[in-house]
């Protein structure tokens, strides 16, 4: 792996840091990067990419993606293909109007953009209910509307799995940087663990909470983490609170690997689980 590269807003991504381009498989851009121009003459550098926020450049050769791992941050700007947790604000004839972040313009989620939804079987979501959705498009310019979807329009399936209404459980607020790290930690293969900056809090919780029934988790890039421990029976609430506290304290304290392990055991002891 190449040395980590920190980019500041406006800086260009050096072409030697990009994964080798293949003609049939275009490079996918993650949040924080922007394609400014595509010079037709220069053969070596196909693209000029610039960072739109400060962060650590990360590339994934297997999936041919390049993205910017931003630092802990409270402000979320929707980017296409982000997985987010949105809250239904109200519904109209064709759309659910969702809050992605409080006090910003609502995002639109089609009434029929759910797996297997038809005019008759579509989910009847009420105000305040939560959905796990993907950002379909963010629009351009002032007054542009963000559109969400819970289904892959090509296959008609909820892809990646788990998109759709979230029932029960609890939502915890974390920074957007933490949410990005959690997503990377969950999608990383075991040999990649150092690349996720030693985020072991989730795997540690997973080990410790397996005996009480495990837990379900959905991470939204907008800084929200949904946790459900409904299998845990009587200690469901304690386990959920424990997970939330572990995540929030790891986030706020920027804890190291060993500190995260200590934190998990301390909080589980405090909440009398496991």
């Amino acid at each position: 792996m190449t040395t980590p590269l920190v980019l500041l807003p406006g800086e260009e991504v050096p072409s030697d840091h990009l994964p080798p381009t293949k003609n049939n498989n275009p490079l996918k851009l993650g949040p924080g990067l922007r394609l400014l121009s595509q010079p037709s003459t220069s053969a070596a550098a196909g693209h000029v990419l610039t960072a739109t926020q400060a962060g650590l450049l990360t590339t994934d050769a297997k999936r041919n993606t390049v993205s910017l791992l931003s630092f802990s941050n409270r402000r979320y700007l929707p980017t296409t293909n982000d997985l987010i947790i949105a809250q239904i604000h109200h519904s109209s004839a064709d759309y659910f109007h969702c809050m992605v972040t409080p006090h910003t313009a609502h995002a639109l989620l089609g009434q029929l953009s759910f797996e297997g939804a038809t005019k008759k079987t579509r989910p009847m979501l009420k105000q305040g209910e939560l959905v796990y959705a993907r950002v379909l498009s963010v629009g351009i310019g002032a007054g542009a509307e963000v559109e969400l979807t819970c289904v892959n329009p090509a296959t008609g399936k909820a892809e990646p799995g788990g998109l759709g209404p979230l029932v029960g459980g609890m939502v915890f607020d974390v920074s957007t940087g933490m949410a990005a790290r959690l997503i990377r930690a969950s999608s990383a293969s075991p040999d990649q663990t150092d690349a996720v900056e030693g985020l072991v809090v989730l795997s540690e919780l997973d080990k410790k909470l397996e005996s009480v029934g495990g837990f379900e988790i959905a991470v939204g890039r907008n800084g929200k983490v949904w946790v459900d421990c409904s299998n845990a029976g009587d200690s469901a609430i304690q386990a959920t609170v424990a997970i939330g506290r572990c995540l929030q304290q790891t986030d706020e304290g920027n804890l190291s690997t060993s500190e995260q392990k200590k934190l998990v055991s301390r909080i589980l002891r405090e909440m009398k689980i496991g």
Binding site: H103, E129, M170, V171, I237, I267, M271
Partner: protein, 301 residues
């Protein structure tokens, strides 16, 4: 959009279920405050306060004005609280909201109307001039329980503040600068603080120092303003579910304990700060050298 973003159904249900089992989201006990930190700035009466994630700055200032015609022996004392967009995206600049009016009212009642600051001691010449003490509360971050945080901040500020010395010479008021004469502490008669309780489950579960989310999920609230000696100077139950009268009696004992604890903590910080100032002041006086500006271009350095 000057309203707080509503809680999601999942959050509300979970907070209520958890409180049913006496569990709070941050693992606190029901009668426990969040970690409180109070610190003082360089100038007198400049307080920085953090209560969990709620944070605010209080500035106390003084100026000489004319007393009110109907109260010639009294000085003036005002508390100004304005919620600006700095504190929360839910607030708009220059537009007052319900929370602002509500917190201002409680601060007024708990601190001003309880005569915690002896306004008669602010009089300089009867009917002609007096001190006007003003407390400005700036909210930097809001995560619930603004009332108690602001109350602690203003009281800490009043105790920390030193006004310039003023004397009457031949019918003229002479105000001495802070360097000329040792500034004078305000006359604080008592230290009342507010404690806010939120009730859930038809009054069966009651918590202290609610966070923003807990406040939004709560069914009712009760504010008790009480001082160290246990004198209740303010009691309000503006809205929400009814609560038992016996409960009010019980909770005022809890409130008194908390107020004692907080006042002791503020006292400790205050004494430490004053001791630091006294030491610094003496060290400055003992120094024979004058302060001089050293510029980096100076050839003799």
């Amino acid at each position: 959009m000057s309203k707080e973003a509503p809680l999601s159904v999942a959050e509300r249900d979970f907070i209520l279920d958890a409180l049913h089992q006496n569990v709070r989201l941050d693992g606190r006990g029901l009668d426990q405050f969040r970690p409180l930190s109070v610190s003082f700035g360089n100038e007198y009466g400049h307080v920085k306060l953090r209560l969990g994630k709620t944070s605010l700055v209080v500035r106390i200032s003084a100026e000489v004005t004319k007393p009110r015609d109907d109260r010639p022996f009294d000085g003036l004392f005002n508390i100004a609280l304005e919620l600006s967009a700095m504190g929360s995206p839910a607030w708009e600049n220059g537009r007052s909201n319900d929370l602002e009016a509500y917190v201002s009212h409680i601060l007024d009642r708990v601190i001003r109307h309880s005569n915690a600051l002896d306004t008669e001691s602010l009089c300089i010449i009867q009917g002609v001039s007096c001190w006007n003490i003003r407390a400005d509360v700036h909210v930097l971050d809001f995560d619930g329980n603004l009332t108690d945080a602001a109350c602690i901040g203003v009281m800490a500020g009043l105790q920390h503040f030193r006004r310039p010395d003023a004397v009457v010479k031949d019918g003229q008021v002479v105000v001495y600068g802070v360097e000329e004469r040792v500034p004078v502490a305000l006359n604080i008669t008592q230290k009342p603080l507010s404690t806010t309780f939120h009730s859930f489950d038809e009054g069966k579960t009651v918590i202290l120092d609610a966070t923003r989310k807990e406040e939004q999920a709560s069914e009712g609230e009760l504010v008790i303003g009480i001082n160290n000696a246990g004198d209740v100077c303010f009691l309000s139950k503006f809205a929400g579910d009814p609560i038992d009268a016996l409960f009010v009696v019980n909770k005022s004992n809890v409130a008194q304990e908390k107020v004692k604890e907080i006042n002791a903590m503020v006292d400790k910080v205050l004494q430490a700060d004053l001791a630091r100032r006294a030491k610094k002041g003496m060290a400055e006086e003992a120094q024979a050298e004058n302060d001089r500006e050293v510029s980096p271009n100076d050839p003799f350095v």
